[in-house]
């Protein structure tokens, strides 16, 4: 794979207005998509099965990261994986159809919400098991190092994953081998229903989670994940380091997950829905949650762009209207798509 945009590691260019508007557009599309997935539980009961995890609250971090990628770069994610392919340009119709378990889905309904793939756009997939894709991303970075075409892998995961051996083993090897990889830990403050300070030694000590990078002699940085421009600048630096062969970076991106960890976990027959956020449901901390809503990165970035004069309110409205129409169409496609053939369950066991 050729990579015309491989850089020499020099400082990244500033974002131009067009790119900033593109970033807002992607953030809004992700939010609209996730809101539609969520409302499906009540508007089309029974369509969504299993466990679905939403990216609302992480849009700025996702889009700021993806905006910094060069053609040919690749990403690996977790099961909270709807946002990245939207920013990469994956067809939202096929994404929604996959989440609805339909034949027209990205993976023909075999994978579902937790197992999306779009290899042609550089999305190599992820894992449904916490942290287990971190070594996959590291292996893809090793492949990029061998190819010597200047490509970098960005590995997305959550704060909870950084307590797994897979995380620590991978970071050590990546630093030791100077692999072209950027580890983006989206610290959304909760590991499922556990507060980060209940399960992370750095957090309990009042230190950032990027402190973990020190153990592996790699760069570690913490960024405001609600600010897409700050995330972009941080990723651009980290990608340049990775591309130049200097080594990997651990980026801790501070976000706040605005929905609960996932939908209700229940056997068949129990209607699935989205429970209240853990901050309220478990810890009774409504103030924290309401503060997070006030800091919602999507309206925050719109306000910033409109205030700065980068985007008119009318144009912002038009972007949002277009996103709603796109997701309307994605949902119609998903609802109308046929169910997959039952025996497709035997068709892809071996390559």
């Amino acid at each position: 794979m050729a990579n015309a945009n491989a850089t020499d590691g020099s400082a990244p260019e500033a974002l131009d207005p067009e790119r900033l508007v593109w970033m807002y557009t992607q953030m809004y599309r992700i939010r609209e998509f996730e809101e539609r997935v969520k409302s499906t539980f009540t508007e089309h009961p029974g369509i969504l099965r299993g466990h679905t995890h939403l990216a609302d609250g992480a849009e700025a971090s996702i889009v700021g990261s993806v905006a910094a990628l060069a053609p040919g770069d690749q990403i690996v994610t977790t099961y909270r994986c709807h946002g990245y392919p939207i920013a990469l340009g994956t067809d939202t119709k096929r994404m929604m159809a996959e989440i609805y378990g339909k034949e027209g889905g990205l993976c023909g309904g075999l994978g579902g919400s937790m197992h999306l793939y779009d290899v042609d756009r550089g999305f190599l997939g992820g894992s449904g098991i916490v942290a287990q894709a971190i070594p996959h991303a590291t292996g893809a970075a090793w492949a990029a190092q061998i190819r010597r075409q200047g490509q970098v892998v960005v590995c997305f995961f959550g704060d909870g994953a950084s307590k797994q051996g897979a995380f620590h083993e991978s970071l050590n090897i990546a630093s030791l081998w100077k692999l072209p990889i950027v580890y983006v830990m989206e610290n959304n403050r909760y590991q499922a229903s556990t507060r980060t300070d209940q399960e992370d030694a750095n957090a309990a000590s009042g230190e950032p989670l990027s402190t973990k990078a020190k153990a592996y002699s790699m760069e570690g940085v913490t960024v405001d994940g609600a600010d897409p421009v700050a995330v972009h600048a941080t990723l651009a630096d980290a990608l340049a380091r990775a591309r130049s062969g200097t080594g990997p970076t651990l980026v801790e991106s501070l976000v706040y997950r605005l929905s609960a960890h996932g939908n209700l976990i229940a056997p068949p027959g129990v209607p699935l829905n989205y429970p209240e956020h853990e901050a309220i449901a478990i810890f009774g901390n409504r103030d924290e949650y309401e503060a997070a809503l006030r800091g919602d990165p999507v309206p925050r970035f719109r306000h910033q762009l409109v205030t700065e004069g980068t985007l008119s309110a009318a144009d912002a409205d038009a972007i949002e209207q277009a996103a709603r129409e796109e997701i309307d169409e994605a949902q119609r496609f998903a609802l109308d798509s046929p169910w997959p053939a039952p025996d497709s369950g035997l068709a892809y066991v071996y390559a």
Binding site: G109, G112, K163, A192, T194, Q198, L346, V349
Partner: protein
């Protein structure tokens, strides 16, 4: 006397009662006891009830170490696949200690793991992977199908001086059933005849027990008398009860939600083929999941799983009956 509670409540009841009875019992795992209102935390305190990070290797390894040091830990792992992250600790550490130390060390610990969440949990959270642990010397494996067995097997698991894998089924968590009042321990290695019959023996494990019972009920309406046996623990495995049933019926069909070659069914088939061959009037039949991963989409998920219809067809074939007209 008995009381009616859901399967999951029966398991919790056993853990609570054993923690009350024996202060050496510890209970810990991910995403539990995070709030001061947690009932286990309130009753037993933060020394004995703790939330852990997502660190299965450490969780299971620490249970092993605490067991060696005199405690009786119960590790809540939630999903069976999370065991796989720490496979060495599950199969190749605590399981070996008693043997390697010539009995000087024992490792009384329970690993609780849910399996078979075939409700759209897709490729990595739906496996019926108990079979791969049943041949590990030093490891006991419990697989309850009812609330009463769930409580009784958990009680026995906590009292056992060996590592025990306790597999709970996700689809059964809210199924209610009668549980005996007071102390209730179900011995390991003793199968339970869930339904008596004379024409054919169905042996089923865990969730598949309910599939088998459903099939037996519909066959009864056609005058076919099917016996349903639930081994309840697959290590140790009560082969004798199965052999004596097959000696009476001459026909054996095995039902298992695991894939064919990693199923309990395959092991039972081998045992009966060797030890009960002369009783058999027809080939043993295995109704298992097809050899594939589980899809997210419902029609594809259903296609690969055993169901009552597939069991009925296997019974008809074994007995030489004409298929039901439906």
């Amino acid at each position: 006397m008995s009381h009616v509670i859901p399967y999951i409540a029966a398991i919790q009841e056993a853990i609570r009662e054993e923690m009350e009875r024996d202060e050496r019992v510890l209970y810990f795992g991910q995403n539990m006891a995070t709030s001061p209102e947690d009932p286990f935390l309130k009753q037993f305190g933060p020394d004995r009830v703790r939330v852990t990070p997502i660190s299965e290797t450490a969780e299971i390894g620490m249970a092993t170490g605490a067991a060696v040091a005199g405690y009786r830990p119960v590790v809540e792992l939630y999903m069976a696949e999370f065991l796989l992250v720490a496979t060495d600790q599950v199969v190749n550490e605590g399981t070996r200690f008693h043997f390697m130390s010539k009995g000087a060390v024992s490792v009384p610990m329970v690993m609780v793991a849910g399996y078979g969440f075939t409700a759209g949990w897709a490729g990595q959270h739906t496996g019926s992977i108990y079979g791969m642990f049943m041949g590990v010397p030093g490891l006991k494996v419990a697989l309850p199908s009812t609330p009463a067995d769930a409580k009784g097997l958990m009680t026995t698991a906590i009292r056992d001086d060996n590592p025990v894998l306790f597999f709970q089924n996700y689809l059964l968590l809210l199924e209610e059933g009668e549980v005996p009042d007071g102390e209730h321990a179900v011995p390991f290695g003793v199968a339970d005849v869930k339904r008596s019959g004379s024409d054919l023996t169905l042996v089923a494990t865990g969730y598949a027990v309910h599939t088998a019972l459903g099939a037996a009920e519909s066959l009864a309406r056609r005058g076919v008398s099917v016996e349903v046996i639930d081994p309840r623990t697959i290590a140790p495995l009560d082969v004798d009860t199965i052999l004596s049933s097959v000696a009476r019926t001459g026909h054996l069909v095995l039902v298992d939600q695991a894939t064919r070659h990693s199923s309990v069914a395959a092991v039972i088939a081998a045992e009966v083929a060797e030890l009960g061959f002369s009783s058999l009037e027809a080939p043993i039949s295995m109704v298992t999941a097809l050899d594939s991963s589980i899809a997210y989409s419902k029609p594809v998920e259903e296609f690969v799983l055993p169901d009552e219809h597939k069991v009925v067809r296997a019974v008809e074939a074994s007995l030489g009956l004409a298929p039901a007209s439906s």
